[in-house]
Each structure stands twice: as structure tokens, then as C-alpha cells.
């Protein structure tokens, strides 16, 4: 048994090393378009994991993710933007003086933006986590919308509907090749963190709450504390994901953080299997790549000389249909609540031991 544990440890380290080598190769061979998609995949992995923690592991149906992302994205953008750039962006209404000269390096700004989102999560979670199921869903959806309306109206802080342009590139050196390391580095950290969290006693408490709240409470699990913990951690990661998304695209505005964005992440989590880390990671990558690739549906398609007139919007129809099929016929999604584990692989390669 002990031997197997060591093997697994080695395999884990090996996998991470392999991932780093892979990232290095990708960084060399991908063109800027492929790079952008690949980085987007990473961001969606972070976002899907953060929502899965709340929805999948604790069973709280939260629809306010876009709001937390907005908090993270705006915090990070305002903290890293140079005073000159701020002056250019805020040409209609000057920026609030206390924000004008704040300037942090990217790493610390990212952490602060996660923290701000976590604070927002705590403020929202404290009152609404008492609610159940659909009431919780609609209340969190409401909070997401409220955050967006506030951001639209507080022009001297967020620049309102004008949004912010010219966000710095991800990283310290303002180089495009840096983003992949930041984004996928955070992805790896998030996965490791999630695996450890779910394996810990907290993780077991989360799952107990998901399966049966009353039984869990009877077993001595503090419902509120655990729900709050998952909600705040989820918000923290969503804030980081939002910040990365904003800096990847280079410009943000309140319209970006509509309910549609939350829906995309819900879609990823459901397709991957609510309650599976592996599922979320795989489905985030598949959905992001497919979303880009299916853009051909919106344009004209030529098959064997026949021109099929593209229908704008067809892509989203196909996606909603796909989601409905999965919900109705494959409720467990890609992975259900299963996880990837070395045990299966080890068993396969070492049948002689048994």
C-alpha cells in the first residue's frame, strides 16, 4: 500500500512536469490566435472549477458568478492600469481621486482582485445562503445583476458603460508569451487545491451537505460555516478568473458580465458532471474549443461546391440543444461524480501484483 502511495506521488509530480514541458512546447508552436484560445480554455477551467465547488460539491445552485467575475476583473484592471492610461479612459468623467494613482504589480493585483470578489461573496452569502434551491438561485442571479447595474452607474470608479480599454498584458513584463504561464500555472494550482480540499474533512462535509442537509446537520456539521466557506472560495476563484479574462481580452465593460456568461460556465459544469473536478477540466477545454470552432455555423459553409447560407446565431442554438440533450438523457454529464485516478491506470499496468 505504501509503495503505491509513493508511486502515485511520483506520478503526480511527473504529470506536472510533463504539463510544464507541454506548456513550453505550446508556447513555441502556437500562433497568436491558437494561443488566445488555449489561454481562454485555461480561464474557463478555473471558472468551471470555482462554480463546481459551489454547485457540484456543496449543492448550492448559485447563478451569480458573472457578478464575482466582474468584481475581480474591474479590481485587477484598475489596480494595474497606469495613471496616464486611466486619464485617457476616464475622459468623460474624471476618476475618483483615491483610485487615480494606485498602481500594483500584476501578481499582487490579481490576489487583491480575488480577495475583493471573496469579500463580495461573503457579503452576499451571509444573507442568502439561508435560502434553498430555487430561491437561492434567483437571489444570487439578482445579486449578479445588481453588481452589473451598480458598475454601469458608478462612472467615476468603473467608467460606467464606456468600460476600460488598454488593460496591461498578463504578467510582469508586458510580453505575450508570459500569459500562458500565469494562466495555466493558476490552473494547476487550482486543480491541486481543489483535489486536496475535496479530499479533506471539509470536502467530505461538503458532500454530506449536498446529499442530505438535515442528516449532515445531525452529524454535527456546521451548515452555515461550510456553505459560506465554499461560497467564498468559489467567489475568490471566480474573481481571479474574471481578472485573467479581462486582461486576456484587453478591454472590459459591464455588458460582458451578463447572465449569459454565468450560463456558459453552468453549461461547462453540467456537461462535465456536477461534482467532478476531472469532468470540469475536460469539458471546459472542449466547450471553449468547440465554441470557437462552431463559429463556422454562423458563416457560410461550403460542402462539395454547394453553398449553405450561414445563419447568424445558429451556433448558440446548437449549444443550447446540446445542453438540453445532456440534461435530459445524460444527467450525470461526462464524468458524473467520478474522478480521474492513478489507481485505475496502475491496476491496468500491473495486473501481476494481484
Amino acid at each position: 500500500m505504501k509503495e503505491r502511495k509513493n508511486i502515485k506521488k511520483l506520478l503526480n509530480i511527473g504529470a506536472i512536469c510533463f504539463a510544464i514541458v507541454l506548456l513550453y512546447i505550446f508556447n513555441q508552436v502556437f500562433n497568436s490566435f491558437q494561443m488566445r484560445i488555449f489561454n481562454l480554455c485555461g480561464i474557463y477551467v478555473i471558472l468551471a472549477l470555482s462554480l463546481n465547488l459551489i454547485n457540484g460539491f456543496v449543492g448550492l445552485f448559485s447563478l451569480g458568478h458573472a457578478g464575482f467575475m466582474a468584481v475581480g476583473a474591474y479590481t485587477c484592471a484598475l489596480l494595474t492600469m497606469s495613471p496616464d492610461m486611466k486619464a485617457m479612459n476616464f475622459f468623460l468623467e474624471p476618476i475618483a481621486p483615491w483610485l487615480e494613482n494606485i498602481n500594483l504589480p500584476f501578481g499582487s493585483a490579481l490576489i487583491v482582485s480575488g480577495l475583493m470578489a471573496a469579500i463580495a461573496g461573503a457579503l452576499i452569502g451571509a444573507p442568502v445562503l439561508r435560502l434553498k434551491d430555487d430561491y437561492l438561485a434567483i437571489a444570487t442571479l439578482g445579486f449578479g445583476e445588481i453588481i452589473r447595474v451598480i458598475f454601469t452607474n458608478t462612472q467615476s470608479i468603473t467608467n460606467g458603460s464606456l468600460g476600460l480599454k488598454g488593460l496591461a498584458k498578463i504578467g510582469w513584463f508586458n510580453a505575450s508569451s508570459e500569459s500562458i504561464w500565469w494562466i495555466w500555472g493558476i490552473v494547476i494550482l487550482t486543480i491541486v487545491f481543489m483535489v486536496r480540499l475535496i479530499g479533506s474533512s471539509y470536502g467530505r462535509a461538503f458532500k454530506a451537505i449536498r446529499e442530505d442537509e438535515i442528516a449532515a446537520e445531525a452529524m454535527g456539521i456546521n451548515l452555515f460555516k461550510h456553505k459560506m466557506m465554499a461560497f467564498v472560495i468559489g467567489a475568490f476563484l471566480a474573481g481571479i478568473g474574471g481578472a485573467l479574462l479581462g486582461h486576456l481580452i484587453g478591454t472590459i465593460d459591464p455588458l460582458m458580465f451578463r447572465f449569459l456568461l454565468t450560463f456558459n460556465i453552468v453549461l461547462i459544469v453540467v456537461l462535465g458532471g456536477t461534482g467532478s473536478i476531472t469532468g470540469s477540466v475536460i469539458s471546459a477545454v472542449i466547450v471553449t474549443v468547440a465554441m470557437e470552432a462552431l463559429r463556422v455555423l454562423d458563416g457560410n459553409i461550403e460542402i462539395g461546391g454547394y453553398m449553405i447560407q450561414g445563419i447568424p446565431g445558429m451556433r448558440m442554438v446548437v449549444f443550447s440543444l446540446l445542453l438540453m440533450i445532456v440534461i435530459l438523457y445524460y444527467q450525470r454529464g461526462l464524468m458524473g461524480t467520478n474522478e480521474f485516478s492513478w489507481d485505475i491506470l496502475i491496476k491496468r499496468f500491473k495486473p501481476s501484483k494481484h
Partner: protein, 298 residues
């Protein structure tokens, strides 16, 4: 400050908006009362009703009353189809799955509508009977403002009659009280739920057509905001309570207008009011104004 005349105008505006919310909220609350499910697609069924009426009037050149009847019937059928395909297979699944399905259906309808009807707005032709404006002592009131409350009250009366006096109504009440037990008692639960959805969709279609006559602009995403606000109205009145929904609708409509009336500088936050309202009600009066506080069953 504000003149009496202006205040009266605000009041009329509030009642007019409130009566629309009330009309749509009835359908919302009815479906919830029996299924215990937030039908996210209600706003989209509402949108479909207006488009059906639009095409019946413009493409098929039908007189307005015939167009409205056809639109209502079509929407009813559509609602029943949605229930059958998207909700029935999940009857014994966890609540979260049903809700995700509801959201999925809502997005599917919206995206289909963008493809089929196009993203550009369409102008809804208002029959002359509904378009006139009356001037009472400087307060301007559109004809439709009188018509909507009348329709709301008629719908309410018919609905209450169906629920309280007919056999299917009795079955609905039974299903809403205890789903399992009513099945054991020999009630065809699927049929009852199907009928409930049909009635809910009829109400959505009526609400949609009235809405389009007040705001004659059709867009594929036009149902989202009214849908959410009417859900809030239903919660305010005590969700599942039909009379409560009417009261909730009026309260929401009036307060939305009056807040803008007295604090115009906050008008940019108007859409956030309804949600703030919702959250306050959920926290301090989870049963709403008219509903009883139900303890979660163990």
C-alpha cells in the same frame, strides 16, 4: 415640487405597469404552486405569444381578434410541448436538474427565436380600439390602461373558478399538496401538470399581447426582464398564491414608478430595485405577503 397632476400621472403609469406585471405573474405563480418549479421559460413563452400574434396579423392578414385567439391557442400548445419534452422526463430527478433544464429551455427558445424571427425589432400593429388616449384633467391615460386590469380580473376569476369548482381544479390542488399521494389516489398527475402548463401558457400569451400593445416592439429577448420581474411580483405576493400574485404585481409596478418619480437621479438603478426588493422579501418574509410560511418538510 411635483404638481398634483404629475403625481396623478405617475400613479396612472404605476397602475398600468403594475396591472401588466400582475397579469403575467398569475401564470407564473400558478405553475409554481403546482410544480414547485421556477419556470424560467415563462418569459420566453410570453415572447412567443407576441410573435405568434404579430405573424398572424401581418403575414396572414387576420383581424386582430382572430389573430389573438390563434396566438393564444398556439402558445398553449407550445407550453404543453415544452413541459412534455423538458420537464416530464425529469419528474423524479433532483430539483437542481429540473432548474438547469428550465434555464436550458429558456436559452434554446431565445436562440431559436433569434434565428427564426431575426434579431431586429419588429413593430407590433396596435388595433385602433386599444391605441386611443384619453385626457382626464391633464392626466393622459391610454385606453389599454383600462382594458388590462379588466382582463386581469376576468382571468383571475376564471382561474379561481377552475381551481376551486372544477374536477381538474381539484386534481390540481391535490397534486400541489402532495404529489405522491395524489398519484396513489388515481389522479393522472401527468395530465394535470400538462393542463396546468397549458393554462399558464395561455396566461403568458394574454400577458404578452397586452404588453406588446403597451410597448409595441417585439424582440427575441424581450421576455427576459418582464419574466424576471413578474417572478419577483409572484414572490412578493407569496409564490403559489394567485391573489397574492395580483397584489404583488401592483406593488412592484407602483413602487418601481414611484421610486423613479421621487428620486429621478437614481433612475439608472431602476432594474436593480426589483432585485433588491426580491432579496429583502426572501430574507424577511419568505412566504410573501399573502402566503403562509411553509417549513421545509423533513
Amino acid at each position: 415640487m411635483m404638481s398634483f397632476q404629475t403625481f396623478m400621472q405617475h400613479l396612472v403609469n404605476g397602475i398600468s405597469l403594475g396591472s401588466l406585471y400582475a397579469l403575467i405573474a398569475i401564470g407564473y405563480t400558478m405553475v409554481y404552486g403546482i410544480l414547485r418549479l421556477i419556470n424560467f421559460a415563462h418569459g420566453d413563452i410570453f415572447m412567443l405569444g407576441t410573435y405568434f400574434a404579430f405573424y398572424a396579423m401581418t403575414s396572414f392578414m387576420l383581424p386582430w381578434w382572430a389573430a389573438f385567439v390563434i396566438a393564444i391557442v398556439l402558445t398553449c400548445v407550445f407550453g404543453m410541448i415544452i413541459e412534455r419534452t423538458a420537464y416530464r422526463p425529469l419528474r423524479n430527478s433532483p430539483k437542481i436538474s429540473v432548474m438547469i433544464s428550465a434555464i436550458g429551455v429558456s436559452f434554446l427558445i431565445e436562440n431559436l427565436a433569434i434565428v427564426l424571427f431575426g434579431g431586429r425589432p419588429k413593430a407590433f400593429p396596435i388595433p385602433p380600439l386599444f391605441g386611443n388616449i384619453i385626457n382626464i384633467g391633464g392626466v393622459r391615460i391610454a385606453n389599454i390602461v383600462f382594458i388590462i386590469p379588466v382582463i386581469t380580473i376576468i382571468s383571475l376569476a376564471i382561474l379561481l373558478y377552475i381551481i376551486n369548482k372544477t374536477k381538474i381544479g381539484m386534481a390540481m390542488r391535490a397534486v400541489s399538496k402532495d404529489y405522491q399521494a395524489s398519484m396513489l389516489m388515481g389522479i393522472d398527475v401527468n395530465h394535470v401538470i400538462s393542463v396546468t402548463f397549458g393554462i399558464g401558457s395561455v396566461l403568458a400569451a394574454i400577458g404578452g399581447i397586452m404588453w406588446a400593445m403597451r410597448y409595441p416592439q417585439l424582440m427575441p429577448l424581450m421576455g427576459i426582464m418582464p419574466g424576471l420581474k413578474c417572478f419577483i411580483a409572484a414572490v412578493v405576493g407569496g409564490i403559489g398564491n394567485i391573489k397574492g400574485a395580483v397584489i404583488g404585481g401592483f406593488i412592484l409596478g407602483l413602487s418601481e414608478i414611484l421610486i423613479v418619480a421621487f428620486l429621478p437621479e437614481l433612475s439608472g438603478y431602476r432594474d436593480a430595485f426589483a432585485f433588491v426588493f426580491l432579496i429583502l422579501i426572501l430574507l424577511f418574509m419568505p412566504g410573501g405577503l399573502m402566503g403562509e410560511n411553509i417549513k421545509e418538510k423533513v
